[in-house]
């Protein structure tokens, strides 16, 4: 990560930023029952309790232990319980067993948050931005928590979707299905050298750095996202049954998992509904398609005689179209930029070790916290995953 100077006014006051982000996480918990904090139906999603404890653990483990002399951890066992994947910090709960752990209770986890928040507030008030290393780590911790705010929603959505009662999390989430109004034309981009990667003054993740020059041949990219209506045409045309449209491993996935529509779609006598955080709703034809895998995005593009953009093409043209409602699959694998450097210590494990077998998504989604997006932001997931708010933009 990278945080020489905070350009954003709110971020300039780090303590205020801290309070705002931490409060937002607790706001997200508002509609939950205690029971909702526990289940983990698949390895990819984490229980809310784990989520809100882990983001707190980050501040205790990475910052308080280092910057507060004689800091006593709230509970020594939490280091094991709420570490996600930092090998340099030690052993941890197996990733697929987070839902087995009923204790500590939710109440205790909120007490843990409160404890850490008090110590962090004292520390930040005392420091007043004097130590650059502290500022940098806190900024990373808050961006980390914002990432988990999005995961909080995507993971909860997945978990609720497995419950036959299809619970409503928050009725206001119905309006995420805003329609795509952009025109159908393609944006033509000329061949040439483009500068790629972050070079601002604010925060960015380490994987955006190593700004580089990339030569792009002529290309064109769509102003609009693919809609549910268009995706329905793909389904109706037998897209899920035509091997020639798919990557070989995508085709295996379709057949093994019996995939016939985007995630959360329910076919009720020929009408499609989809599960949303506002409950089951009829699919809105002109809204951008959501919850598709890279394989589906890619097969759809093939069916259209087009292709997905690379992440470089996307970034070079990003100021020419509206983005931010769907994470947009690119045809770029998640790999280091030429000048990529891992951070020192545990934060070095943040991004680099995942640079294999994943595809880059660009943009942001309806679930991304305000302020937590940039044209250079690199999200990444395995090509078969689709529980994020993912969508499709075509190129050629």
């Amino acid at each position: 990560m990278h945080a020489v100077q905070q350009s954003d006014a709110a971020e300039q006051d780090l303590l205020e930023f801290y309070r705002r982000v931490r409060a937002r996480t607790e706001e997200l918990c508002g509609p939950l029952e205690i029971e909702d904090y526990i289940p983990q139906p698949i390895v990819d999603v984490s229980p809310p309790k784990w989520n809100i404890a882990h983001t707190t653990w980050f501040f205790e483990e990475m910052i308080l232990k280092q910057f507060v002399p004689g800091y006593e951890p709230f509970d020594p066992a939490f280091g094991f319980l709420f570490n996600s994947y930092y090998n340099s910090i030690g052993d941890r709960t197996a990733r697929d067993r987070r839902g087995d752990i009923s204790r500590p209770t939710v109440k205790q986890v909120f007490a843990y948050r409160k404890h850490v928040d008090e110590r962090m507030s004292q520390l930040l008030a005392r420091d007043e931005g004097k130590q650059a290393a502290l500022t940098e780590l806190v900024t990373l911790g808050l961006n980390h928590e914002q990432q988990h705010q999005e995961l909080f929603l995507t993971d909860l959505k997945y978990t609720f979707s497995t419950n036959p009662l299809l619970p409503v999390y928050d009725a206001s989430f119905a309006q995420v299905e805003d329609i795509e109004t952009a025109g159908r034309e393609l944006i033509e981009m000329p061949a040439g050298i483009y500068e790629i990667g972050y070079n601002g003054e604010g925060f960015c993740f380490d994987n955006e750095l190593g700004r580089q020059r990339v030569f792009l041949e002529d290309y064109a990219i769509s102003r609009r996202l693919v809609t549910n209506r268009e995706f329905k045409e793909f389904i109706d045309d037998g897209g899920y049954r035509n091997a020639l449209l798919w990557h070989s491993e995508g085709w295996d996935w379709v057949n093994r998992e019996h995939v016939e529509a985007p995630l959360y779609w329910h076919d009720r006598d020929g009408r499609f509904f989809n599960y949303t955080l506002a409950g089951l709703r009829e699919v809105v034809p002109d809204a951008p398609v959501c919850h598709v895998s890279f394989y589906e995005a890619s097969a759809f593009a093939e069916w259209k005689g087009m292709r997905l953009a690379t992440e470089f093409e996307w970034e070079a043209a990003n100021d020419k179209f509206r983005w931010g409602r769907r994470w947009e699959w690119t045809n770029s694998a998640y790999l280091p930029y030429p000048g990529f450097r891992k951070g020192e210590g545990a934060v070095g494990e943040y991004n680099g070790k995942f640079m294999i077998n994943q595809m880059v998504l660009r943009g942001a989604s309806v679930a991304t916290p305000a302020g937590h997006s940039r044209p250079t932001y690199r999200n990444f997931f395995h090509p078969h995953l689709r529980w994020q708010f993912t969508g499709i933009r075509l190129a050629q």
Copy 2:
């Protein structure tokens, strides 16, 4: 099941029996936090919430719908959510996905219990034992709930044991480790025909019926259970590393699962502790060994130059030794008695369809509800399972 007349005074008043059993279930919930009701770490154990809802479902589905004209279910979705395995009743939550379901809340499940209890109380008060079919089904339902009271404890113990905090459920459970005081001599039993199976006036399960004559050759059976001390000798003698002591599939299990001691034992620098519902406690040498699989019981017997009794040998001699602290593995497979008849309708699925690949355990355990044991009771589990309070009695 079978319930012509209730011999037990308490059971003669069915409503009183109903209230007592139902109240006992709720008593068991006393020490739980809301979070504890949810997790299901392995398919074999059920979450407490599911447990207390499913036993209630049994009364609603099997009795109220049939005996109360115009009965309206508390919530129609619960039929799907809380069915365990009754194919004749319909689809249901997959058995390994019970821990994914956070809603209905625990509070709602207690409301469900209350609703059903009120209707059942009215029904029983009105009926006064006039309808034999009703009496029979209610008695079955209550025995079913008692079985789930034992599962409540064994399942919770397993779930808590996977939590690094090793939570205490109830400190009074420490005293289950009472020592084995019986003498070392064997009880000699003469060859002859023995009558096996239930022939009393009270309740029994269908699998105990079809009373039969069984010819037993001369045998001897131990007055005492195998203790932790003796089992420790087996470990120290390399019992877990000597293939010749084990069934072939037991040996595969030992190696695949890296089994080196009974379930819940922790080796801390050469001293053995075991997780109990009262937390982690040092193993009591003279208490009966607990939480062993059939494979371990059988390998231990082989190591001793002895064997496990058959369920018939056990039953024929049961009045000559103390039993009831451990479910005792027998060397009998769980199969129907000659005159076994499945019940009509859904209750016919209660026992018969499990009569393959499981071994019979006789007796009862420290977790078995008072009154819920008989010399003819046939418990059964797969040979590798050990989360029940299982133990070993030798024969030759």
Copy 3:
């Protein structure tokens, strides 16, 4: 095993018996191409090469090394390569990897057989039956080889059946589909004590010993085997889709494996053919049904309102019906008789360690070598397996 005196004239001359059995194995190899000796499509079946080497290994490892001073093994590596499951002898090729081993060649394996046969012939000629232990082991080895002759055929049938060419092994195997001509009546058997287990003078396996008295209640057993015609009625009546007919684990198996008919049946536009060692042939309606699992046998019996006999019922009545064409599933688990004793040393691993999770089959099949069957013979397989020539006889 047990071989005090050989009652059979052929067996009295052990060398003659040796030569006959060994020659029969090689006769079975007659129709094979070299390529056929290698594949192992599933763990349950062994490649012919392994089969004919392993039976030879038995004589080298168990007999020549012990009875011929200074015996030099044909090739020291074969001890590892061709051990089946004897832990007391040492490590071995993993059971599911036997098909990966192309060398030694088939030619070398025949040379191995020749080498061992010469040494065995010299040994037997020299000994003239003087050493009882030798006679006993050789008799066991020959019975072992006869078991592998049956496996040779069942395994090859399975392997060939996975080849889209459906190769013919031997056209004369078409006639195994002889029709069932016995009458439909049941044989009534009175309650009483029956003697069970081997008590003759000839050879038997150790699992038949410990002759015991068994009390049987009144029962009746069918004179005839269930035919393909009857089994087809079960299929047509939806037997494979009715959960209530099946054991719970059987029902899981049916659904997981998409079972819709006996193994090797092919539905070609509504007409049923089955793969046989003589190639694909139309199913003969009045031949006994073949290649069914215990689960199918049991579901069929349930559908008929009948049941499978226990192995004791079968043995007590066996002289009243014709048997020997199908291994008949019983409803008895494979467990030790009361007086069961394991042999000393490696032969002790022959039977005892498999006495869990398997069901007993009685009788013999069209693939059983002549002379290798007895009324007390106990065959055993897991309940889902059906690549043996298995069939169904009903009881009530």
Copy 4:
């Protein structure tokens, strides 16, 4: 693929090229026993019989059926048996079941080769290069067969390596362990635009086309390959036990598979041997390390404080170092070039559908047929695979 004009003299005479390639395949079969043609120990490797039949199938299916009017297939079943992955052509033997198929015999497969060779020779003699489409397809078929010649060796090596006898295929393969003599200096490459992709007159695969301009920042690449000696230092320094050197999925792979050295290495009392096609040989310290996965290559580079080159960096510098002994892992994912176009019909499945989850290897190996390599050649495998002759070249 792409084959407008053949620049190579031998390839200008297509019939001569056909004969030479086809003969080479049969030469490779020279040391095999019939048995060796059958086993398939893992899904990634194919049996020799399948290999030599599949390359023949390519000519029959893709060429003879199209270009020879009234062509009668040698055996209609072979279309199913020997199709590899062409969905547009139809169903086929499951990829992991190729080793189960003993028939057709090896002799029949050679007859199949002969039959197809005769028809192909007639066709080519008749055509004399007049039909460009034919020339193009034949050239593709021959390059395809050359790819399978390399697979023939790598697959056989894997299969033989699982045999405890560690058979020798050909003693002359010992000399592949030539030592690395290049100097230790890095080749400095200046930033700039480089042209990437094939633009010659000869044959290339479709994935090399869409020649593009790529901007590379300054970089340096090693003149030499990493040797066994250097890799041994990595092992000795605990490289396989240090999570921080590995990709997260690489670390999972190391632990799950218990990886401790390159594939085929055997630690015998501290001395390392490796299995080769000439049998077990002591590891040659100064030979280039072989049979490492992308994960190992990448962890090694991390340990050295360096990195792997991208495929573009490799191609831009390829004329400055010696390559061709090891397939060199790059840090580029296998993705389409900007102008990539799938071929029409079945050949369109040749490359494009594999462009996900695989990493590019550049160069060639000791097992690559002479003439079958180019600086633009893009080989690709999953990052955990290592049965190819893979090696490591460092960059920074």
